[in-house]
């Protein structure tokens, strides 16, 4: 397992890196606009049908899928390293696959939901 994790480290790190970028930039803005500014009436609120139409475009689907999936990988990779920093390196071979499986399951569920929009 340790060997497999090391082999996959570059691709996981790539997903993690993109997750940081999207998680800190886009997702924060997304939550701010959709969760705070729009309900307070500061920015225009899209109707459900308009929002659905926007999300169902190709670009909308790609953005939504990335916003759901990549931060999950960022979270999984970060949690793994927090666990190692707290002295859990001996159990990394169990904890890391578990965290990545959660990220994978969330990503698949997110992508399927986006496809079915």
């Amino acid at each position: 397992m340790k060997h497999l994790l090391l082999k996959l480290e570059p691709i996981i790190w790539l997903l993690f890196g993109q997750g940081i970028l999207l998680g800190t930039l886009l997702l924060t803005g997304w939550v701010l606009v959709v969760g705070v500014l729009a309900p307070l009436g500061i920015t225009p609120l899209l109707s459900f049908s308009d929002a659905h139409e926007l999300a169902a475009t190709l670009i909308g689907r790609v953005v939504l899928a990335a916003l759901i999936a990549l931060p999950l990988w960022k979270g999984a990779h970060h949690l793994r390293h927090v666990f190692i920093d707290l002295g859990g390196a001996d159990r990394d071979a169990t904890v890391a696959p578990l965290l990545y499986l959660i990220a994978l399951a969330g990503s698949v569920a997110g992508v399927l939901a986006v496809i079915r929009l």
Partner: protein, 248 residues
């Protein structure tokens, strides 16, 4: 008026005599412009000649006087006692290294790792004297210049929790020095170094704590270098998997 004084609490340990390290407190004159190294030198000259510590240049260039001062890694020559006065100053050897004696640590592990990453310019063929020096543009120089400022003081190793937990990890200074040579336009040794760098004990052992960059007394950013090596390692991985016929 009585002369102002300050207490310096120093970790003492002589492996030939002591069962375990212990703290000894010395009272030294408080002089506003004194740094911790001045206080240690006063103790050695005036109070206890057996106190053992490394130092050399007294101007943050040689990297010899790294100690844990009040629990944080600092250079003794760059840390003023006035920043602690009237409280005492606690001085310990750098963390994550075995103690040789008092404030002197055994650096063998770092030296071996340092040699492994080949911290020198590798070229198939070097210019002859007649061919002259290598030319480098300003843009090429900027890519690696900050990493040349490293003075191997090991403060970053003392700050790095990963090195403390996993001694196999190559650690911040070695990795950032490897990056320094990888980014040098005169160098051709990137592929050789990446064998060491793109390993679990190399950059993948870093857990993004960033304490190394905070501890660096020369404003080098080893954490940034490590992340840049990760990009390079990921790029190599993608090229290898997606274009196995291509060259790295």
């Amino acid at each position: 008026m009585a002369e102002k004084t300050i207490e310096i609490e120093v970790l003492r340990y002589d492996p030939e005599k002591d069962a375990e390290p212990y703290f000894q407190t010395f009272t030294v004159p408080y002089v506003e412009h004194w740094v911790v190294l001045d206080a240690l030198t006063y103790i050695k000259d005036e109070i206890d000649q057996s106190l053992t510590f490394r130092w050399s240049c007294h101007m943050a260039v040689c990297g010899s006087c790294g100690y844990n001062i009040d629990g944080e890694p600092h250079l003794g020559c760059k840390t003023f006692i006035r920043d602690f006065y009237p409280n005492k100053v606690r001085v310990e050897p750098l963390a994550n290294f075995p103690i040789e004696r008092d404030l002197v640590v055994v650096q063998d592990d770092f030296i071996e790792k340092f040699a492994d990453i080949k911290p020198y310019i590798i070229r198939e063929r070097h210019n002859t004297v007649d061919e002259g020096t290598y030319k480098q543009s300003r843009a090429e120089l900027i890519k690696f210049k900050q990493y040349t400022m490293c003075i191997n003081c090991l403060l970053c190793y003392s700050a790095c929790p990963q090195y403390g937990l996993n001694p196999e990890f190559y650690g911040p200074a070695s990795l950032s020095l490897a990056h320094r040579y990888n980014m040098d336009s005169r160098d051709e040794g990137r592929e050789e170094r990446m064998e060491v760098l793109a390993a679990e004990e190399g950059v993948w052992g870093c857990t993004f704590v960033g304490a190394c960059s905070r501890a660096c007394p020369k404003d080098v950013d080893p954490a940034g270098a490590i992340q840049q090596i990760k990009i390079a390692a990921t790029s190599d991985w993608m090229k290898e998997k997606l274009m196995p016929w291509g060259k790295k």
